[in-house]
Amino acid sequence: MSLKTFSKGGVHPPENKLSAGVSIQKIPLPEVVVIPLSQHLGAPSKVLVKRGDEVKVGQLIAQSDGFISTNIHSSVSGKVLKVDLFPDSSGYRKMAVQIQVEGDTWMEDIDRSEDLVRNTVLEQADIRKKMLEAGIVGLGGATFPSHVKLMVPSGKTAEYLIINGVECEPYLTADQMLMQEHPTELAAGISLLMKGLGVEKAILGIENNKPDAIRIMKEATKDSAIEVQALKVMYPQGGEKQLVQALLKREVPSGGLPIDVGVVVFNVGTAYATYMAVMKNRPLIERVVTVSGKSLEKPSNFKVRVGTPVSYLIEQAGGLPEDTAKVINGGPMMGKALSSLDVPVVKGSSGILIIKEEEAARKEILPCIRCTRCVGVCPMGLEPYLLMTQSEKGLYERMEQEKVMDCIECGSCSYTCPSARPLLDYIRLGKAEVGKIMRSRKAV
C-alpha cells in the first residue's frame, strides 16, 4: 500500500537530516539572556520586572495582554540588567528583558523530577488556564497562543486533534528527537490537548523518513485513542492545510482554518510543552533547537533556554565555519536569514542552519520557459509564474482573483524553477499589496 500524503503539488528537496539520531543535549547556561516580550502571534506581553530585579527560573516576567497574547517567564535565574529595545531575529529592535545569569535557582512550585505524572483530575477549563499561565504557544513556528486554539468558536465543532510530527523541512530534527526521547511525556501531552479541546480522536502524523520515531510513538500510544500515521515524505506536508488533507482527506476552505473542517493542529513540541506545563507546572522556558549545516563541525539538537544568543548555540556546535554565507533561523525552505547572530532563541525557533558560500550562490535569473513546474508543485493549486508576472506589472486586483492570498509561502515554486526565477519574492510583494487593498475595502 502506498503511504498517504497530500494530493496536490509538493517537492522533495534533499533531506540532509545531518543531526538525525544525535541525542538532545543540554548545554551550559550562557552569561546573559535576552527574552523578547513578543515571541508569539498577537499582542506583546506586559512587562512585570524592572532593572535590578532578582528573578528565578520560571518566574513570570511579562503577562498576557489581550485575548490573543500569552505569558512570558524568565528562563534563568539572575538579575535584570535592562528592559529595552533589542534586535530580534526579524532584524528589528523589539522590547525585551535582558538578564544577567547567576546560578540556576528555580521557582519552588516547579516539579523538576523526571517522574511521569499521568492521571489528571483537571477539567477542560483548567488545562486551558494552565497553558495560558505557562505561556504555551505553537512551537512549529507559527507561535500562535495555544490556549486560544483550544477554544472552538461557536458554531464549529472539533472532531479531531492532529499532531504534527512531520518535520518536512530539510535539516531539522528537533521534533524527531523529541519523539524518540520523550514518547511517554508526549503521549501524555497529546491526551491533555485532547481533553482541553474536547475530542475523542487524535492522529499523530510522522513522515516515513523517521522510522524510529514512528515505531517509538506507536509503542507509546498503543493503548490510547491516539493513532500514529506514517506519511510519505513530501514538502510542505507540515503545512496545516496539507497535513489535514493528507490525514483526513478534508480540504480546509480558502481563507479558512482547520477548525472549519473540524480539526485543530498542534506541533509535537507544543504537546510536550503542554505536558510539562500542566503536569509539572513548568512554564515554557526552554525548547529543542537543531543546529545544523554541511560545514558545521557538530550538527546537534540542543535543549536551549529561551533568550540564549544564537551565536552561543553555534559556538556549542563547533563554532561558525569560515565559509559561512548565511545563517537561517528555521529550515532552508521557510526559514529567515539572520542579519546578526547576536539575537536570542525564542519560543518559535526550531533550528539554526548554517549555509556555506557555494550553497548560497543564487543562480542567474532566466526568462520563464513555461515549463509548468511551478504550477505542478504548488500545493495550493496556484499559478506562481502568472502571479509573478502580475506582481511585476502591479496587477494586484488580478492577483486577488487568482487567489494569491491562499499562498502559504512554502517556497516550492521558487525552489523548483529551472530558470531560478524569484517567484515567491514577487508573490510576497503582491500579497502585501493585496492585503492593503482588502483592508482598505473593509475600512470603507
Binding site: 480540504e251 548560497a360 532566466l366 513555461r370 513546474r373 495550493m380 529551472p418 515567491l424
Partner: protein, 330 residues
C-alpha cells in the same frame, strides 16, 4: 567573518536548469537520430549538422548584433530547435533550404517574439511549414531508406500516408495495403518520410526517457496519440474499405515526433494539466481531419501550430483546481 547574506526564503534550489532540461530532451532524441542515420546515411548527417549549426549561429548573430542582448545560443534550446527541424525535413533537402528553414525558425518564430519563453508558435514547426509552402516539391521528395552515401542524388518515393491518400481516390484500403511497407518496417522506421520521424519505436523510447526523467508529463503525448487512435479506430470500424486502420495512422507520418516532441514544447503548450488535455485532444482531432478529409496526406504539424495559437486562450481560462474549494463542516 564576512557579512551575512540576508535574502528571502527559500534558501535551497533544485539542480535542474534550463540547459539541463534542454539537454535532457536532446539526449532522448539520440535513439531516433541513430535510426535515421542508419536508414538515410550521409544525407541525414549533413541535414542535421547544417540545421543545428545554423540555428545556433543565427541565434548568436541575432542576439549579438540585432537585439544586442546577452547571447544564449548555448543554452541548448537552439540546438534542440535545430535537431527537431532536421527531424522533420527530408534527408535529401539541399543545404541552403535547410539554412532558410533554420533562419525562419530561430529568426522569425523565436527571436521576433523576444526569444526563448516568449514565442507563440513552435520554432521548428514554423521553419518546416515555411519550407513546405515555399518548396513543395523538394519538401515532398522523400529519399528511400538504405542509400548510405547518397544525399541530394538519392532515389525518392512517396510516404505511406501519401500512397494511402492517393490510392484511396481509386482503390480500397485492402488493395493499397500490399503496396506499403509492413507494420514492422513502419515501426522500425524502414520507410520513406521526414528524416527523424520514421522510427516510431525510437521515438517511443525517447518518450519513456522524458517521462522517466520527469522532463514532460504524459498529458500531451498520450492525449494526442489516444485521440488519433480512437478517432481513426471509429472511422475504420465504420468503413474499413475507406479508412485505414488505427495502427497504420499511429505508425506513419509525423505523428509520433509531433505528439512527443513538437506538441510538448514547454513554451508553446498550455500550463495546466486540464489545458494540456484539451490541447492534446484538439491536436489529435485536427490531425485526423486533415489526414482523412483534407487536401494533405499529413496534418499533425498544422494541427500543432493551430493549437499553439490557442494556448494563450487556454492558459487564460483553464485554471488548475485550487486548494480548498470543498467545504464540509460548514
Amino acid at each position: 567573518m564576512n557579512k551575512l547574506i540576508v535574502s528571502p526564503s527559500p534558501h535551497a534550489a533544485t539542480r535542474e536548469s534550463v540547459p539541463s532540461l534542454m539537454y535532457g530532451v536532446i539526449i532522448s532524441l539520440l535513439p531516433a537520430l541513430g535510426v535515421s542515420v542508419y536508414y538515410f546515411g550521409i544525407g541525414m548527417v549533413i541535414v542535421t549538422a547544417v540545421s543545428v549549426l545554423s540555428c545556433i549561429l543565427f541565434e548568436y548573430l541575432i542576439q549579438k548584433f540585432v537585439m544586442k542582448v546577452k547571447t544564449t545560443h548555448l543554452d541548448g534550446s537552439a540546438l534542440l530547435t535545430g535537431l527537431l527541424l532536421a527531424f522533420c525535413l527530408p534527408a535529401n533537402l539541399p543545404l541552403w533550404m535547410v539554412m532558410i528553414g533554420a533562419l525562419v525558425a530561430v529568426g522569425i518564430a523565436k527571436m521576433t517574439f523576444g526569444g526563448l519563453g516568449n514565442n507563440i508558435f513552435n520554432p521548428a514547426l514554423v521553419g518546416r511549414v515555411f519550407l513546405f509552402i515555399s518548396f513543395p516539391v523538394a519538401m515532398t521528395s522523400w529519399p528511400q531508406p538504405g542509400q548510405w552515401l547518397k544525399y541530394t542524388d538519392a532515389l525518392t518515393g512517396a510516404t505511406p500516408l501519401g500512397v494511402m491518400k492517393e490510392g484511396l481516390a481509386t482503390k480500397s484500403v485492402a488493395e493499397i495495403m500490399p503496396e506499403l511497407p509492413s507494420f514492422l518496417n513502419l515501426f522500425l522506421g524502414n520507410t520513406m518520410g521526414s528524416a527523424g520521424e520514421v522510427a516510431a519505436f525510437a521515438l517511443l523510447i525517447g518518450m519513456i526517457y522524458l517521462l522517466y526523467k520527469k522532463i514532460i508529463t504524459w498529458h500531451i503525448p498520450i492525449s494526442i496519440l489516444g485521440t488519433v487512435f480512437l478517432f481513426t479506430g471509429i472511422l475504420w470500424l465504420a468503413n474499413p474499405d475507406r479508412f485505414a486502420d488505427p495502427l497504420f495512422h499511429m505508425l506513419t507520418g509525423g505523428l509520433m515526433l509531433g505528439a512527443i516532441y513538437m506538441a510538448t514544447d514547454y513554451v508553446t503548450s498550455p500550463m495546466s494539466t486540464k489545458g494540456m488535455l484539451i490541447y492534446g485532444v484538439g491536436i489529435g482531432v485536427v490531425t485526423v481531419l486533415i489526414r482523412v478529409f483534407g487536401a494533405y496526406p499529413e496534418g499533425v504539424q498544422f494541427a500543432i501550430l493551430i493549437f499553439n495559437g490557442f494556448t494563450p486562450l487556454l492558459n487564460k481560462y483553464i485554471k488548475p483546481k485550487r486548494f480548498g474549494k470543498v467545504v464540509s463542516n460548514g
